[in-house]
C-alpha cells in the first residue's frame, strides 16, 4: 500500500516532533479562520431553527481547534509528521493536468479529453512503455464506453471528435 513518504528531511538543529507541533498549530489556526468565515456566513441564514445546527457544529469546531492549538503549547510530540507532499513537481503536475482535464470534459467530451489526458499524464509521470500506455488507454476507454454508454445508456457530454 502506498503511503505518504515519512522519510522527510529535518533541518539541522530542529527538535524531533517540531514539525508536527508547528503543523498542528498552523492547522488549528487555519481551521479557526475557516470556521469564522462560516460563522459570519451563518448570520445570513434567516430562520433560527435552520441556523441552530450549523452553529452547534461551528462551536464544536472552535472548541476542538482551540484544544488542538492548546495542545501544541503543552505537548512535545515524540514523532515527526510525515511530509504533506512528497514530490512537489509530481503533485503539481498531476493536480494541474487533472484540473485541465476536468475543465475540458464539458467542451471536448469525456472520451476525447480522456484519450489525451491518460497517456500524456502517464508519460509525464515517467512511463516510457508507449505501447502499454496506448493499449491501456484504449482498453480502458472501450470498457467504459461499453459499460456506461452501451449497457447503461448514461448521457455523457457531447464528444467533439466523434460526435457521440
Amino acid at each position: 500500500m502506498t503511503q505518504p513518504n515519512d522519510e522527510a528531511t529535518e533541518s539541522p538543529g530542529e527538535k524531533p516532533g517540531a514539525r508536527s507541533v508547528v503543523q498542528d498549530r498552523v492547522l488549528a489556526i487555519l481551521i479557526i479562520v475557516v470556521a469564522t468565515f462560516f460563522w459570519i456566513e451563518s448570520g445570513r441564514i434567516r430562520a433560527a431553527e435552520a441556523q441552530m445546527f450549523p452553529r452547534m457544529i461551528l462551536i464544536l469546531i472552535y472548541g476542538l481547534a482551540g484544544l488542538l492549538a492548546l495542545r501544541t503549547l503543552y505537548l512535545q510530540s515524540d514523532h515527526r509528521a510525515p511530509a504533506i507532499i512528497t514530490s512537489y513537481p509530481a503533485f503539481a503536475l498531476f493536480v494541474l493536468t487533472s484540473l485541465v482535464y476536468v475543465s475540458s470534459v464539458s467542451s471536448l467530451g469525456f472520451f476525447t479529453a480522456s484519450v489525451v489526458y491518460m497517456p500524456v499524464v502517464a508519460f509525464l509521470l515517467g512511463l516510457r512503455r508507449h505501447g502499454l500506455n496506448i493499449a491501456v488507454t484504449f482498453i480502458f476507454l472501450a470498457a467504459t464506453y461499453t459499460v456506461f454508454v452501451v449497457i447503461f445508456a448514461r448521457p455523457l457530454p457531447r464528444e467533439m471528435l466523434w460526435g457521440l
Binding site: A90, Y101, F110, Y117, A122, F140, F152, P155
Partner: protein, 504 residues
C-alpha cells in the same frame, strides 16, 4: 412478512442470473481493486457506486457485496507475492505469506489465503444473518432523541477510535457535518452556506464526496510515487508448487478462532479489519504448540490473518443495518450504496424491505463463498496483467473512472469540479493526520442527526435536558462518554509510563 418467508424469497431472488452475474463481476472487480497496491476496497466501492445507480437494488447490492469481499481478499495477492499489502488489513498476511512465496510455495499460500478468506467471510455473513434481525427489533423502541444520540455515538466512536488522534478525528466528523448542512434546509426551506451559487442549493451529493475523498488521494499518492515506484512486477512470476498443501484439518481450529475474533471486532465500531487480522494472527501464534514457526512461513499464521480480516466484513455491517449507523469507513460507503437506491438502512428497513435486506445478507455469504473458486491461483492467472500495471498508468485511470462515475449521477460538470476539490481536500486532510471516514460519516449522519434533534426538541417543547432523560438515551450518552474518555485514558497512561521511564 415472517423472517422465514422473507429469507426464502430472498434465496430465490439472488439466484436470478442477473444477480448472480453482478456478484461474480463484483468479486472479480473487488479482487482487482484490492490487489492493486494503493487502492482499497472502500475506494473501489466508492468509485463504482455510480455504476450501480441505474441497476435494480438487488443487482446493485450484489455487486457491492462482491466488491467488498473480493476487495478485502484481493489485498492478500500482492501481500504474498510482493510483500506489499494491497489493503492495510493484509499487513499480517505478509508475515508468513512472503516467506512461503520465497520458498516456492506461493501457489499453496494463495490457495490457503483464498479458502481462509472465504471461510471467514461466510462465518461473518452467518453472524450477520443471526444477529441483525433481533437487534433491529430492539432498535424499533428508539425515538427521535435516542436516534440523535445514536448518531452522535456513531460519529464519536469512529472519530475517536479510527485514527491516532482523537481531536483530529472529531474535527473530521465536524467538517463532514458542516458540509452536510450546505444547501437548502429541508425543514424551513432556507438556503445555508450556498454563497449565492446556484449549484450549491442542492448541497453536495455524498457520492461526489465519497469518490473525491477515497478515489483521488490514492491517485495523487500513486502519481507522486510513480517515478520512483518500488511496486515492481518482477516478483509476480509464480511456478506451480511441487507438493500440494493438503493438511486442511490442521487449519480448522485457526479458522474457528479467527472467525470469532473477526466477527466480534467487526461489530465494534471503529475497530476494523486491520485490528481483526492482527488479533487473529497473535492469538493463532499464542495457541500454537510451535509459535516460533510463525513469521517463517506458517500456513496457520497466513490462515489466521486472512480469515480474521474477512470475518470482519459482514459483521461490521450489523450496526449499519440495525441502527443505520455505519461502524467503519467501508460500512459508511456501503450505506451510501443503499441510499443511492432510495433505501434508508435501519430497523425500519427490516419491515419495509425484508426480502432485500435478507437478500443482501445472503449475497454477502455467497460472494464470500465465491472466493473458493475465484481466489487463489485463478485470481493470479487472470489478474496478473492488471497487477503489472505501473502506478503512472493507474493514477490517471482512477481519475477518469471517478470523473465518469460522478458525472453520470446528475450530469453535472460542477460535480466533477467538486470531486477534484474534495480529492485535494481529502489528500491534505489525510497527509496531516485527519482520518477521512468521519468526514463521510458526518455527511451521511448529519442530516439524520439534525432532523431527529429538531423533532426531539419539538416533542420536548425546546427543552434540551428532556431529550437526554430516557433510560435508552442515558445508556447511549454513557457510551459516548466512555468513548470520549478513551483518548484521555491513553494520554494519562502514556504520561505515567514516560514519567516512570524518566525516573529510572
Amino acid at each position: 412478512m415472517p423472517m422465514q418467508d422473507a429469507l426464502l424469497s430472498a434465496l430465490i431472488e439472488i439466484f436470478a442470473w442477473q444477480n448472480f452475474l453482478a456478484m461474480v463481476v463484483g468479486v472479480i472487480g473487488g479482487i482487482v481493486v484490492g490487489a492493486l497496491p494503493g487502492l482499497t476496497a472502500t475506494m473501489g466501492i466508492a468509485i463504482l457506486i455510480p455504476l450501480t445507480f441505474t441497476m435494480e437494488p438487488l443487482i446493485a447490492l450484489g455487486m457491492v457485496a462482491g466488491i467488498y469481499n473480493g476487495g478485502i481478499y484481493g489485498g492478500a495477492i500482492p501481500a504474498i507475492l510482493l510483500g506489499i499489502p494491497g489493503t492495510s488489513s493484509s499487513i499480517p498476511t505478509t508475515f508468513d505469506g512472503v516467506p512461503l512465496a520465497r520458498r516456492g510455495d506461493a501457489e499453496n499460500a494463495l490457495r490457503v489465503s483464498a479458502y481462509s478468506s472465504a471461510i471467514g467471510g461466510i462465518a461473518s455473513g452467518v453472524a450477520l444473518l443471526i444477529l441483525a434481525p433481533p437487534l433491529a427489533t430492539v432498535t424499533l423502541l428508539f425515538g427521535p432523541a435516542e436516534y440523535f444520540w445514536v448518531a452522535v455515538f456513531g460519529m464519536c466512536s469512529i472519530a475517536v477510535l479510527l485514527g491516532d488522534d482523537a481531536f483530529k478525528g472529531l474535527i473530521s466528523a465536524a467538517i463532514g457535518l458542516l458540509i452536510g448542512t450546505i444547501g437548502i434546509d429541508s425543514v424551513s426551506g432556507h438556503e445555508r452556506f450556498t454563497f449565492d451559487i446556484f449549484y450549491l442549493t442542492g448541497g453536495f451529493d455524498f457520492i461526489v464526496l465519497l469518490a473525491g475523498l477515497y478515489g483521488i488521494p490514492p491517485a495523487i499518492t500513486l502519481a507522486q510515487t510513480a517515478a520512483s515506484s518500488a511496486i515492481a512486477s518482477s516478483g509476480l512470476s509464480v511456478t506451480r508448487a511441487k507438493t500440494r498443501f493438503r493438511d486442511w484439518k490442521s487449519l480448522v481450529p485457526t479458522w474457528i478462532r479467527s472467525s470469532t475474533i473477526g466477527i466480534v471486532v467487526g461489530v465494534l465500531p471503529g475497530v476494523g479489519g486491520t485490528m481483526a487480522a492482527f488479533l487473529s494472527y497473535n492469538e493463532a501464534r499464542r495457541a500454537d504448540p510451535d509459535p516460533s514457526s510463525f513469521g517463517k512461513g506458517s500456513y496457520k499464521g497466513l490462515a489466521a490473518s486472512e480469515c480474521g480480516n474477512n470475518a470482519d466484513n459482514a459483521s461490521s455491517l450489523i450496526p449499519t443495518l440495525t441502527l443505520g449507523v455505519p461502524g467503519n469507513a467501508v460500512a459508511a460507503v456501503i450505506m451510501g450504496a443503499f441510499l443511492v437506491q432510495g433505501l434508508q438502512p435501519g430497523p425500519a428497513m427490516f419491515r419495509s424491505e425484508p426480502v432485500l435486506v435478507y437478500a443482501f445478507i445472503l449475497q454477502m455469504i455467497m460472494t464470500a463463498g465465491m472466493l473458493f473458486f475465484l481466489g487463489g491461483m485463478i485470481a493470479l492467472r487472470v489478474f496478473a496483467p492488471v497487477l503489472r500495471l505501473p502506478p503512472a498508468l493507474i493514477a490517471p485511470v482512477v481519475i477518469c473512472l471517478s470523473v465518469i462515475g460522478v458525472y453520470t449521477i446528475q450530469n453535472s460538470i460542477f460535480d466533477i469540479y467538486a470531486l477534484l476539490g474534495f480529492g485535494v481536500l481529502g489528500y491534505l486532510l489525510q497527509a496531516t493526520g485527519f482520518p477521512l471516514a468521519p468526514v463521510v460519516l458526518g455527511l451521511i449522519l448529519g442530516p439524520m442527526a439534525e432532523q431527529q434533534l429538531r423533532l426531539a426538541l419539538i416533542i420536548a417543547r425546546g427543552d434540551f435536558v428532556a431529550i437526554s432523560t430516557s433510560a435508552v438515551s442515558l445508556i447511549i450518552i454513557s457510551l459516548i462518554l466512555v468513548v470520549l474518555a478513551i483518548p484521555l485514558v491513553r494520554f494519562v497512561r502514556g504520561h505515567i509510563v514516560r514519567n516512570r521511564s524518566r525516573t529510572r
